[in-house]
Amino acid sequence: MKPAPFAYLRPTTLEEALAALAGEQGAKVLAGGQSLVPLLSMRLAAPSMLVDVNGLPDLDHVHCDPSGVRIGALARHAHVLGSVEAAEVQPLLALALSHVAHPTIRNRGTTVGSIVHADAAAEMPMVLRLLEGSVDVMSVRGRRTIPAAELFAGPLESTLAHDELAVEAFFPALPAGAGVAFQEIARRHGDYALVGVAALVETDGDEVTRARVGFVSVSDVPVVVDVTHALDAPATAALAELDPAEDIHATAAYRAHLVSVLTPRVVAAATDHARSRAREVSPA
């Protein structure tokens, strides 16, 4: 299976890239190609033009500061996963990225591309949503910030306009006294999850003040459920808000089962993580 013909442009400046996207209604951005090229080969997409952003300068950064981690559009998954600093500022990044595909795919696929691609079976869109991060996009009209809560519109659909280029994703730092955990079940490590679950638990040192859980491969958009008031039965609270999907990989009932097993586990693990971090900060 081969892609249909398209015009190809490899701009070397941001201005050139944005002008091309603005000038061609059917243009699409080509980043790592790890999701787009299969779609083209299977002819599930047939853009009139590809704007290959791999030649743009200064977009491959992973910047860390106390507020969080800023990831540029050309930073590969492998680069983000390899950043010790990023893992310290926001440990959920590395926890989740180690489940994103196989190392060979991570050498090419970009974290920003994965987010914009908005696959509910992908880890990073859910992580961005759970951490309440955001994506900065640029077009000929200027720059704007889209909060994660407004980013995911439907299956493989984000709220970017056709001429907008995502330049950076922002993942907030893990606050003091907070903890995270991630687990997923896949048929083979590195494959898309049948169900993946992440938790972000905040404490005041002892008591849990806020607990949220995010789900991968359960619905057709990344979903996050607040379980702060259901800490003794977080899975029941989650399932009340979820409507697990059925596909060739798993029945809805099996997905619901995985949710009920994984949710209490990650909430407990994130709570332990939060308490151990709280102890590190203020030794009793």
């Binding site: 299976m1 398209f6 190809y8 190609g33 090229v37 080969s41 791999n54 060979t104 795919i105 090419r108």
Partner: protein, 175 residues
């Protein structure tokens, strides 16, 4: 039908330069096989799943079926043909596959060889679990993976790693 625009692309493969004229949609895997005549790179699924087409781009393993030839202009590419030593002898990973029966039909082999070559550079002395993790993104329909895992450990041993030494079976095969 109007003819499709062609791009002149200079590919750097295994230390040589290949000037090719291709449409933008030419997959790098096809450019290597058809335009450069380097048929060692195999094509299985063409959507990134099987790993048969894995090559090294600037030293890192990537799927050549998920890149376009036009995107590879600035890259240093190594295919399975480029793994042999300068004197024509087998590389440690190739030798290990031969020693340990790491291949049967050989279809998946080029992808394993490139993946493992890069994997052992990053982790020269893998444990058996790490060896399994190293090859987890490549599919083989013949071998059941046991001998491929052995080959990883054997290659590490040939290159001077130590953990392979602890594998009795491999020791025996070395004779």
């Amino acid at each position: 039908m109007t003819s499709e625009k062609l791009h002149d692309v200079r590919l750097h493969v295994n230390g040589s330069v290949h000037e090719v004229r291709v449409p933008a949609r030419r997959l790098l895997s096809d450019a290597l096989r058809h335009d450069c005549g380097l048929t060692g790179t195999h094509v299985g699924c063409e959507h990134g799943v099987c790993g048969a087409c894995t090559i090294l781009v600037d030293g890192a393993p990537v799927r050549s079926c998920l890149m376009f030839a036009v995107s590879a202009v600035d890259a240093e590419i190594t295919t399975v043909e480029g793994l042999t030593e300068a004197d024509g002898s087998l590389s440690p990973v190739q030798q290990a596959f031969s020693d340990c029966h790491g291949l049967q039909c050989g279809f998946c082999t080029p992808g394993f060889l490139t993946t493992i070559t890069a994997g052992l550079r990053d982790n020269p002395d893998p444990s058996e679990d790490e060896a399994r993790e190293m090859i987890a993104g490549n599919l083989c329909r013949c071998t059941g993976y046991q001998n491929i895992v052995k080959s990883v450990l054997r290659a590490s041993q040939i290159q001077g790693g130590t953990k392979g030494e602890m594998q009795g079976e491999i020791q025996e095969e070395r004779g």
